[in-house]
């Protein structure tokens, strides 16, 4: 009995590791020129927090944040950054002071986020999972746990 339970737990853990971040609200999108298709959560965090500033193809990372109060953003703060809004604000103050980096621009709507990522080389943002992206020059990327 015990070996069977252990096997199930291990299999579940493995599946959860290799499976893309599955949420009900958020899809991470990048400009279609971007060669990546997957990204780790920590890498995603580093890109947002401007700890990593360039994509592997040397293009500048242009992260488009979303306005406060939106579900997608709350989800992003909680599950990707693991920070509260206050912590994030403090982080950007420090980042501005010591690294010269300012917080990313915020798009009010999914449509704006799509348009900006569509036009910006190296652009990346997150939108509602339900938003259609076929007409834009963007592609979704899978976030690995």
């Amino acid at each position: 009995m015990l070996p069977r339970v252990f096997l199930i737990i291990c299999l579940g853990g493995f599946i959860s590791l290799i499976a893309p971040l599955r949420t009900e609200a958020v899809t991470f999108i990048v400009n279609e020129s971007n060669p990546i298709d997957t990204i780790s959560r920590s890498a995603l965090s580093d890109l947002f927090l401007k700890k990593e500033r360039y994509w592997p193809n040397s293009s500048l990372v242009r992260f488009i944040d979303r306005e406060k109060g939106r579900a997608e953003r709350d989800y992003f703060l909680k599950n990707v950054l693991g920070m509260s809004q206050r912590q994030l604000d403090q982080y950007w103050v420090g980042k501005k002071l010591y690294a010269g980096d300012s917080a990313p621009l915020k798009a009010q709507t999914d449509s704006m986020a799509l348009r900006l990522v569509h036009q910006l080389e190296g652009g990346i943002s997150y939108i509602s999972d339900s938003t259609e992206i076929q007409n834009f020059n963007v592609k979704p990327i899978k976030v690995l746990e």
């Binding site: 500048l60 501005k96 010591y98 690294a99 010269g100 300012s102 621009l105 798009a107 704006m112 900006l116």
Partner: protein, 614 residues
């Protein structure tokens, strides 16, 4: 190297010192330059950094202004036009500033991507706002905030601002680092200058000390040597420490001391000479106070030095003392006196007086050399006594000689007279042997008569009074030649130097010359051709008169017998004579204070020289 330094002249040493000091100074300047170069470089970097930082700040402000303009929602076309103009102007300024920044920032190679990012950001912004105006102009007023072009413009401005801010932060870090560097090394030039100055000062002072120590030593050695020599130690030599001018001066000084030693006598030497004198010696001042005596004085006076010093020297002599105050007559004076001893006995002394002065002008000391003549006086008295006896004996001898000669003449005259009468009256009555005996008696009595005449002459000449006057010897010789009896057939060449005059007794000189000329004629009689010469010449610094002939001459081995009475070097048969002639000449010349001598060679002639007292 050390020898090179020792042999160098002072001028060269000073020049060397100046060159070394100059090198030290130059090295110090170089050291200061290099120690300060980092600070200079940092200051230059700081200045450049300030310029770049100002550019970045200006660009940030321009971009901020552009972003503010972009964020404004234009209410009218005019406002849109103003914003557009403002942004375009800003963009031009930004491009200009970026050009400068690109040139300046190329020095800071650490972040090449930042420049690239700024450039891309500016280009993207320019492209974006161009499209933004088109959209705004097409869509009309009030909807700018919703336009993605506006968001893009913001994004590019934000990217550029971030890059500029990063650049500014980098510049600040660099600025901080440079300032820190400047602060850290702020004392370095001062310390380097201090250490180099201390080092070079030490070296200069050290070498200067060595130089001046040698200089000072040489001078002090010279001073010490001068004092030594002044004290009378002429053996002292100053050590030669170098071969420079001072060394040469020292060597010259040593040479001078050596010359002084060779040409001067030291006080020790003079003292030892005075001490070694067998005679007594008193040194007095001009007041006659004794200031020094020698060892012989102490022995002969049987007194201690301290008993004599300070005494008046006049009290030591009983008579005829020459007082020191008779200064002008004192030097070289002498007197005989009796020296008073402590036991009141006296001793006869001969005293020489001299003045001693240091500067040869002002006499300071009188020196009395006192000779004990007690023994001398006794010898003198004895000699005078003997001389008196001798004179008396001579007189008696001469009287006896004269008396004998005179008394012999009377019986001889009887022998001669009676033998002459016997020859005249009874010669024919005698047989042949008797006649021979009578002839021999006659010859002997005649010879004896001649001898007695010669002896009487010799005796008379010894006692005759000299009457000296100027005499022309040449005239006398000529007269003698004129009266001379020369055998017929003989040929004599006469050579007489004219006007040979002397101060002498004319009669005696005639006798002497008569004998010399007669001798010359006699001893050249074996030669058919003869030469007889009279003249004068210098002999060993004396004027000598001579009679020279080329006759029989004589053997120089017997020259001492020539002037002894009755001594003859030739037999009477060979050359007749009594042997008194040269003894007579000798006595005449001696009475004139001169001397006579002869030189000759057998069969080559003889020369008879005589001199006369001046």
């Amino acid at each position: 190297m050390f020898d090179l330094w020792k042999n160098a002249s002072i001028v060269k040493k000073i020049l060397f010192g100046v060159v070394v000091a100059s090198i030290f100074l130059t090295l110090q300047l170089v050291g200061l330059f290099f120690s300060n170069s980092r600070n200079v470089s940092n200051l230059e970097s700081l200045k450049n950094l300030e310029a770049v930082s100002t550019m970045v700040e200006n660009m940030r402000e321009l971009l901020d202004a552009s972003l503010t303009s972009v964020n404004q929602a234009p209410d009218s076309e005019e406002e849109l036009s103003d914003i557009k103009f403002l942004i375009e102007q800003n963009q031009k300024h930004l491009e200009t500033l970026f050009g400068s920044l690109e040139r300046r920032f190329s020095e800071y190679k650490e972040h090449p991507r930042l420049l690239d990012d700024i450039k891309k950001g500016l280009t993207n912004f320019q492209n974006t706002y161009g499209k933004l105006w088109e959209v705004l102009e097409d869509n009309g007023e009030g909807s700018a905030q919703e336009l993605p072009q506006l968001m893009l413009a913001r994004q590019y401005v934000a990217e550029t601002l971030d890059a500029l801010t990063k650049m500014n932060l980098n510049l600040r870090e660099r600025h901080k680092s440079i300032v820190q560097n400047l602060y850290t090394y702020r004392y370095r030039p001062l310390l380097v200058g201090f250490y180099l100055t201390a080092l070079f000062l030490g070296l200069t002072l050290g070498s200067g000390f060595v130089f001046f120590r040698n200089f000072s030593r040489s001078i002090l050695n010279l001073k010490a040597a001068t004092n030594e020599i002044a004290a009378g130690n002429l053996h002292h030599q100053a050590p030669v420490l170098s071969r420079d001018e001072l060394g040469e001066v020292t060597e010259s000084f040593n040479k001078m001391a050596k010359s002084l030693l060779e040409s001067t006598v030291s006080w020790e030497y003079v003292k030892s000479v005075l001490e070694s004198l067998p005679d007594m010696l008193f040194l007095t001042n001009l007041d006659g106070q004794i200031i020094g005596v020698n060892e012989a004085t102490l022995i002969q006076m049987n007194q201690k030095e301290e008993d004599l010093l300070g005494k008046d020297i006049a009290t030591l002599f009983t008579k005829d003392f020459i007082a020191p105050d008779a200064e002008e007559n004192l030097n070289g004076a002498s007197f005989e006196s009796d020296l008073l001893r402590p036991n009141a006995s006296t001793v006869p002394v001969f005293c020489s007086v001299g003045l001693v002065s240091k500067d040869r002008e002002n006499a300071e000391t009188v020196i009395y050399v006192v000779k004990n003549i007690e023994e001398l006086r006794s010898l003198q008295e004895e000699l005078e006594l003997k001389n008196s006896d001798l004179t008396e004996a001579n007189k008696e001898l001469e009287a006896f000689s004269y008396s004998v000669s005179h008394d012999l003449r009377a019986p001889l005259r009887s022998v001669d007279g009676f033998s002459a009468r016997l020859q005249k009256m009874y010669y024919s009555n005698l047989d042949e042997q008797g006649q021979d005996y009578l002839r021999r008696i006659r010859e002997s009595s005649s010879k004896m008569g001649q001898l007695i005449d010669d002896l009487l002459n010799l005796s008379r000449l010894g006692r005759a009074e000299l009457t000296k006057r100027k005499v022309n010897l040449s005239s006398i010789v000529n007269e003698i030649i004129k009266d001379a009896e020369v055998e017929p057939g003989r040929n004599i060449e006469w050579v007489v130097e004219p006007d040979v005059s002397v101060l002498a007794d004319a009669h005696l000189m005639r006798v002497a010359l008569q004998n010399l000329i007669t001798n010359a004629i006699k001893f050249t009689s074996k030669h058919a051709q003869a030469r007889i010469e009279f003249g004068q010449e210098d002999k060993e610094g004396e004027r000598a008169y001579f009679v020279r002939d080329d006759g029989a001459g004589f053997d120089m081995a017997y020259v001492n017998k020539l002037f002894v009475p009755f001594q003859r070097l030739h037999s009477a048969g060979e050359f007749p004579g009594t042997g008194i002639g040269l003894a007579l000449i000798n006595r005449i010349i001696h009475r004139h204070g001169g001397r006579v001598w002869a030189e000759g060679q057998v069969e080559k002639g003889a020369v008879f020289y005589f001199t006369l007292a001046n």
